[in-house]
Symmetry: D2
Subunit: 146 residues, 4 copies
């Protein structure tokens, strides 16, 4: 059980699937980002407000995923998001995609780097965001891999 | 007030937006289809089961949308789905996309035609589906346009 | 033969398809927009420059499509774009999607309205754009439906 | 210069961008897959035929990307695809995304595993595919990272 994970749910829609009948691998990242946005809103730092403010952003510098078992059309998937690492200028999020019954279907990671919007230069994470990420649901010791 | 509409909710995610800062027009149809799939599941005819059975399908023969006001990043949108027309071989669904406070942002329509999967030929809507669509939430006299 | 149409080509990728094995209806509009952007670049009014300038935009007020025959994974599709109507504040584009051999697979239309970015208010089409659209490849008498 | 890479080109369309004005990170994988499909067709093993045959597939078991510099709306991007590793049951592809002038914007990797469609079990790569991947454009010693 991952008691510390932030949870986000979605159903695999027809638009998520491909001719092989399962979730297209690239669409996983859209759902990961939806989970990230829900998490940030819960933390009190809604992504739309950050972008609209236009001062700094949190572009993704790295993303990866392991696809363990197919996610099929109509399945209810739970995304468990955890803060894996909190650095000076960036943070790393982990995602687990679980099917009905809790079976692990996929794992993913994203690394978000604070950058100035004007120049694209790396900058320290704003202190209020750092504080939120430290105490957030989803923050804590990395849970075991399964 | 549209008392008969089936309701589906989503939040405009970053992946839905484009460089102009609002929902990309084509992504509206993904959300319309998500609403359609939720509606069909509620009616007892889940789309994934229909497709997996492989006998017949409900391809979309026509789709249209009017975009009245932009849908912005982070906005909570309610899709109201109604059955507009129920024919021998097809049905027409109407969608209204409303923002926070109920303002109409967009209207859409899709026409779904029952076809055999083997030959693609039009066939009558299966009777159980017709019955469900007749009594479904979202079925009834076409509500006034706003 | 449609001698006046602007042509844009794409191949139906796995990401375009769904579990029913054919192009997902909503993805048609992404390809229509790719054709529109290629057309605008050819006309000397690249959409990225219009958006980046931030003064006015060409949001889509209406879109529709008729799906006549499935577009299958791997098929080479030609989009034929024509200017159907050129108004004071808006223009209407028609798209025909043809498969190998020229068979008509789908028809679509989009209506683009010139609006100020600051207030969203409708404004006249800039004269240079109007001139380009009048003489553009793809402009002319509406070709017959097939 | 990467003389051995298979090249695939695309233009960053409005649908690729997000409210931050650049390519949404998840959409990179759709373009990577388009490059993969073009590569497989060139190798004589079109993905649509593999999927339609229904016997075996090449699901992606792992994907990752590093985003080095933003890809902006309207930019012409060249994807360079190379075969990084060819195993008994799987292969690893590398992708470099270059902007106009050749600047590296992003790197990506995908691992494709041969599996039976009926049972999902791993199986050896078919010999003709292995042969093609060995001699394919894009195959060879891993080029240096930039």
């Amino acid at each position: 059980m991952q008691t510390t994970a932030f949870q986000h749910r979605f159903t695999v829609g027809l638009a998520d699937t491909d001719a092989a009948g399962v979730l297209f691998y690239g669409h996983l990242f859209r759902h990961a980002h939806d989970a990230f946005e829900a998490f940030m809103a819960r933390c009190g730092h809604p992504v739309p407000e950050i972008i609209a403010a236009g001062e700094w952003g949190l572009p993704i510098a790295h993303a990866k995923a392991d696809y363990l078992r197919p996610m099929r059309h109509g399945e209810a998937i739970t995304v468990e998001l955890t803060v894996r690492e909190l650095g000076e200028h960036s943070f790393r999020l982990g995602y687990r995609f679980r099917g009905p019954g809790g079976t692990l279907r996929a794992r993913a990671e994203t690394v978000h780097v604070a950058t100035g919007r004007a120049d694209g230069a790396t900058r320290p994470l704003p202190e209020p965001l750092r504080t939120s990420l430290t105490g957030a649901p989803g923050t804590g010791p990395t849970p075991s891999e399964r």
